[in-house]
Structure formats: C-alpha cells, structure tokens
C-alpha cells in the first residue's frame, strides 16, 4: 500500500517529506534541548501533564483509529495512523518526563529524543488536519487532535510554524490592520458600502452593514477573508439580520473585525491573545454577544475559549447559523421554496459538527426551502474533513497533498451525491472544496449557506419586523449550556 514513488526513490522522497511547508528561519542547532526545555515549560504551566500522564498509561496501540482517519485511508502509510503520530510525542513524554521511562531508558540504553524524531514530528503533525474524527473511534477516548496541537505548540515555540500561518498571525496581532488578510478598516468599510448597494439592487431593501455602533446585541466577526472572497455570504448574513429585525442591533467594529484564530491550530498563547482581541472589541462597543460568521474554527475558538480568556465569564457566542435558524423557527424570515431548484448537499465543518454543536440547524434551514437536498455519507458529527483543516488550507505549498491525499475521500463523497451545489458554511472548507472541485473536475459549485439564503430570501412589501428586542427573547439561544467543542 506504500506510495510507489516513495519505494522507487526513498532518498528523494524522504527529503521531500522532511519539510512539507515553508518556515521563516532555518532550523537552529541544539533542537533536542530546546524541544525538551519548551516541553518542560509547557507541562509546568498548562493542563497537559495530567493528560499525557493518563494517555501514556492507557494507550493500547490497537490502531482502531486508523479506520477513522481519512489520511490513513488515502495513503495506507502506517505513519499516518493517528495513534502512531501521537506516540511520537507520548514517547518523548514517557522517556523524559516519567520516572519509569527514565529508568527504562537508562537500563535499555535508550538515548531518548533525537534530531531525527523532531524532523519526523514537524512532518507528521502538519500532515494531520486536526479533524478529530479518530477521537470518535477510539475505544479508550484519546483525543489525538489535542496531542497534535500540543506538539505543534512545542514546535511553534521553537520557531517551527508554517510561514503562511505565522505571517497572518503577525499582521493580526502586531500589524496595523489587525487582521489576517491585512485589510485596512477603511477598505473593509468601502466593501460594506459596496455590498449595501449590491443588496439594494438585489432585494430593493435598505440593508446596512452597521459600523462601530455601540450598545448593540451582536458584534460581528466573520472570517475576514470573506470581505475579499465571499461577498455573497456577507450579504446573506446582513440580509438575514435585517429581515429578522436586528438591522440596528448588530455591528462590525473597525478596531478589530476578524474571526480567524490560527492560534487554535498551533499555539495556546496566540489562541489566547486573539480571543482577547475579540473580547476587547466587544467591550469597546459595549456589545452583548459575539456573532461569528460562516467559519468553523472561528466559531469554535470563540465558543470554546471566550470564557477561558474572559476570566471565566462567558460572553455569549452565537454562530450566524444558529442565529438564522432561530430567526427561521420564529418565522421572521421568509425563504422562497422556488428560488433554488438545483440539487444541494451540505458539508459539515469539523469544528462545528464533530461535537454535535451545529449539525441540525443548517439542515433544517436548507430543507425548509431547498427541494432537492441530499446528504453525503457519512455526515454530521461523523463527517469527513474537507481536507484543509488545522490551518493546512492556507499552505499553498501542500496543495498537492491536500488534493491527492487528504481531500480524496471528500471529493469522492461530493461526487457520489451528484449535487450541483455544495454548501459549506466555513471559509476554510470553502477554499479547500473549491480547489477540490476544480482538481477532480466535479460538476458542482461550492457556496456558503447564506449565499443560498440570499438567493431565496423574500421581504414583505412593507418591512415591519423592527421589533427585535421583544420577540427575540422568546427563542433565546442557549449560549451558556455546556458544550464540548
């Protein structure tokens, strides 16, 4: 099952495999000591020690996870088994941070962590997309996605981060524009004005993108790339908010308007700093809730980590899909069942669906106005990743890997449905799926959920739906219920 190219030219392939992504600086000497020092520091301050302790004791290496992993299914390479990958790090933990491992190392003469192990790690941990599908199939309940994150965290403190992620985060946290796409606030406002005009042409309504409004219910953070790439999604978002009567009740902040959080993929400190920026902007505008646009990891990083980085106090986080679902349930929006006649399928972003958080809501929305809705198999919490998870979609240098290996199953799934429209409510998934559709020549279009809603939304002659405050309470979203995300 091994890759035939690898068998033919092992030298070359090993070299090609070594650094699958660009990094900014050449790797330094003495990486082993560096790695162990950083590992020790992280174990000391974080919650990972109890986790690794229990993992390294119970891991049985049954490799059942292999059956759940789409990368392994595509390559058949034993090194792509989630358990094998996690064992790279668990082995280091055992050998260097437990008494038993230290003794065993002494007796058996195991030198422990080597430069070559680190090389293997920087390859292996960026092969994984962190979709956490393996977690569903692990009888023991190990979360290989979390171990992968920790490994990336250690590597990132050594300076080993894919350049594409690093550069985006640098602009987001230290740059003038404070977002990953480096869009200056005036440009964002221009885009919004333009979209308002478009919306007026499309719908005949005066739909606004309220900027810097204070004391509103929702402060909106889409994946910032939407302003460049997904105008229809944004217009759909604004149209729904308008139709539901929240036109004056949401806003986009000019100081910080990016939902993207690459920290979720590789570094705890950065994850925290980005979440804190979101919180600060909500505070500045005295908003009540965080509204996240169509984006999987943006939704999850806010939902799961706002309480952590806000002193334990939760600012409610609402995904735009939850919002739209509620508006639909309360009969605030009208969707024309004749507007979309194509066959439609829905792709579940891992960050939304794996925990069962947002699975049914978008389906109910779609089924309410789409006549030909088909499902991929499997779907929902057991979906396959688009193939660009864990930040890999931003790495153009791994394009081939994303297409040929990770995205292969997704492409087959999409083709099997025969759908003409593939709905993916996630900036990340959308980019990857569009590339897949091109690569595999699948006769389908990839759009966001609100792109379709924009096509179908209808407004009453006289808009009388400005009574948001009172009516909205009835269908309050349960923001504070404990979710695992």
């Amino acid at each position: 099952m091994a890759n035939p190219a690898a068998a033919a030219a092992p030298e070359q392939s090993a070299k090609a495999k070594k650094y699958p992504y660009y990094i900014e600086k050449p790797l330094e000497e003495g990486r082993v000591k560096q790695f162990l020092d950083i590992f020790a520091a992280i174990l000391r301050h974080s919650n990972y020690k109890p986790l690794l302790d229990i993992y390294s004791r119970v891991v049985t290496r049954c490799a059942r996870c292999a059956g759940g992993c789409q990368i392994y299914q595509a390559t058949g390479d034993p090194e792509d088994i989630p358990c094998y990958r996690s064992n790279l790090l668990l082995g280091v933990y055992r050998r260097h941070f437990t008494l038993g491992g230290w003794l065993r190392g002494r007796i058996l003469g195991d030198p422990g962590l080597q430069e070559s192990t680190i090389d293997e790690m920087l390859d292996a941990f960026y092969h994984c997309t962190g979709c956490r599908r393996c977690n569903l199939e692990c009888p023991m309940g190990l979360d290989h996605g979390l171990v992968m994150r920790l490994a990336r965290n250690i590597l990132s403190e050594m300076g080993i981060v894919p350049k594409a992620l690093l550069v985006s985060v640098r602009e987001q946290l230290q740059g003038k524009t404070a977002n990953t796409s480096a869009i200056p606030a005036p440009a964002m406002m221009d885009t919004c004005e333009f979209l308002e005009e478009e919306l007026a042409d499309l719908t005949g309504q005066k739909i606004h993108f309220p900027i810097d409004r204070e004391d509103v219910e929702y402060v909106f953070f889409p994946a910032v790339s939407d302003y460049l790439l997904e105008p229809d999604t944004l217009m759909g978002n604004a149209a729904v908010l308008y139709a539901a009567g929240d036109q004056d009740n949401w806003t986009i902040g000019t100081k910080y308007f990016d939902g993207i959080n690459y920290g979720l993929f590789y570094n705890d400190a950065i994850l925290g700093r980005i979440v804190e920026k979101e919180i600060a902007e909500v505070r500045r505008l005295r908003g009540k809730k965080i509204l996240i646009g169509e984006c999987g990891h943006a939704s999850r990083s806010a939902k799961a980590f706002v309480p952590t980085f806000n002193g334990g106090e939760a600012i409610p986080v609402v995904s735009i899909q939850e919002y739209t679902f509620n508006a639909l349930e309360q009969g605030k929006i009208t969707l024309d069942p004749n507007a979309v006649t194509e066959t439609v399928t829905y792709h579940d972003p891992c960050n939304l669906a794996r925990s069962g958080w947002i699975v049914e809501q978008p389906r109910k929305i779609l089924k309410s106005f789409v006549k030909n809705f088909v499902e991929m198999e499997p779907h929902g919490a057991e979906n396959y990743c688009c193939g660009g998870g864990g930040g890999t979609v931003s790495l153009d240098e791994v394009h081939d890997y994303r297409m040929k290996v990770v995205g292969k199953i997704k492409a087959e799934q999409m083709r099997a449905t025969g759908a003409e429209i593939i709905v993916a409510p996630c900036a990340n998934c959308k980019k990857q799926l569009k590339e897949l559709v091109d690569y595999y020549k699948i006769p389908a279009t990839v759009v966001g959920l609100h792109d379709l809603i924009l096509r179908a939304i209808r407004f009453p002659e006289k808009n009388g739906a400005a009574t948001s405050e009172e009516t909205y309470e009835a269908g309050e979203i349960k923001e504070n219920s404990p979710v695992s995300v």
Binding site: M1, D37, I38, A41, I42, R44, H45, S46, N47, Y48, K49, P50, L51, D53, I54, Y55, R57, V58, V59, T60, R61, C62, A63, R64, A66, G67, Y72, G76, P78, I81, Y84, N87, E137, P139, M140, G141, L142, D143, L146, N153, E157, L166, R170, L173, Q174, N267, D268, A269, I270, L271, G272, F305, P307, T308, F309, G311, A314, P482, S484, V485
Partner: protein
C-alpha cells in the same frame, strides 16, 4: 513441587494481588488528582459532564459501534475482554482460591461456560496477535509489550485450561504451577503496563475533555519561562 505450588498461590499470589491493587489504586488517585488540578487551573468550569459520562458508558459496552470500522479487530477485542474479565473471577476453582486467600466468595459460572469462555479468549487472543503481526499497519505501531501481554494471557488461559484435562501431557501440579506463576506475573505487571486501562478507562474521556479548558495564562507563562519574555511574532 507441591510446596512451590502452595507458595505460588498462597503468599506469592497475595503479594502480587497487593501490588496490583495498591499500584492501580495509586494510578486512580494520581489520575483523579490530575483531573482536580486541571479543573482548579482552568478558568472555564462549564464542562459537559453528563455527555462525558454518557459517552464513557457507551464505550464500556460498545456493541453498537463495533461493526463500524475494523470489525475483526473490534469484535475479537471485545470478546477477548469479556472472557478475560468473567473467567478469572467467576470460575468455581478460582472462587475457592479467593475464599482461601481473602475469605470471601461469590456464585460462580458452570464449568462448561468457563471452558467455552476460555476457548473464546484463546481464539480471540490469537486473532488479535495475528492482526497485530500480519496487518503491516498495526505492526508498525506495536511494541514488545503489545505482543507480550497478550501472549502471557493466552499462556495463562491455555495452561489453566489443560491442567486438569486427561490429555494433559505434563503433570497436573507442574502445569498448575506454571499457570499460577504466570498469573501472578500479570497481576504484578498490571499497574506498570497498559493493563492499567482496566481502572483508568472511566477517566480518560473526562481528562480529554477537561484538557481543552486551558489555564488562561499557561501559554504565556510557558513562553516567558523559555524565552524570558513574550517574543514578538
């Protein structure tokens, strides 16, 4: 020979059992301590406990999930565990031993049932080892202990099975001695090997879930400890 057998299933067994019990107890306490520490350090205490417990219970008897992926591995592993848990505890001969050594007893299962279970464990165990060896993928992740522990269990079950059979080629007491000694060995090994999952299993999912609730300053503090400051990106 007789004295050695008496020693193996008397004092030696009690010692092995004590090591196992205390060792496993230590692991449970450490794991609970770890969980407590995680909760204490995290700022967000909104955890989906009921969901965690539910998932853990589902996986305790995972019948509806077995066929989904790697069915051969899953079924043989499940049956292996069933036989492994039931037979040593409920075999009548063992219950006599329990009564002799720790003074309590309980109802057992009929000998034919125990025999059937033993054969089941042997078949499933051989299958498991076979999968490990002949499936090139599993072979890559396997280490010495992964083979040794299953082989040891197979050895214990087979010596126990043939000890009292008329066709047993070796004398009863010799085979019994081997049986008891190897059983003592596995009890001794339990806290120090992956067998520890027998008691840690209920806590793994809990730990996985809680670990996502980070202590807010952890990332920053670790970076400061390593670099002396929060370095610009």
């Amino acid at each position: 020979m007789h004295d050695m057998l008496q020693f193996a299933r008397g004092p030696l067994f009690r010692l092995a059992f004590l090591v196992m019990a205390l060792g496993l107890l230590r692991l449970v306490i450490l794991a609970l301590w770890g969980i407590g520490q995680m909760i204490y350090r995290a700022r967000d205490h909104n955890n989906p406990y009921s969901k965690i417990v539910k998932t853990t219970l589902t996986w305790l008897i995972p019948i509806q999930r077995l066929h989904r992926i790697r069915p051969w591995l899953s079924y043989s592993s499940f049956l292996f565990h069933m036989g492994l848990i039931v037979t040593p505890i409920f075999l009548l001969d063992h219950i006599h031993l329990w009564r002799a050594s720790i003074g309590i007893s309980w109802p057992g299962i009929p000998k034919t049932a125990a025999d059937a279970l033993t054969l089941l464990v042997l078949a499933a165990g051989i299958l498991l080892i076979g999968i490990r060896i002949f499936n090139p993928y599993t072979r890559r992740v396997s280490g010495f202990m992964d083979y040794f522990l299953v082989l040891l269990i197979l050895f214990i079950f087979s010596t126990g099975f043939i000890a009292s059979r008329p066709y047993n080629p070796i004398p009863y007491e010799t085979s019994m001695l081997i049986h008891v000694l190897s059983a003592d060995l596995i009890l001794l090994l339990a806290p120090f090997t992956k067998i520890a999952h027998c008691v840690l299993f209920p806590l793994v999912r809990m730990t996985s879930e809680l670990a996502w609730k980070f202590p807010p300053e952890a990332g920053k503090d670790a970076a400061i400890q390593v670099h002396g400051e929060v370095k610009p990106i």
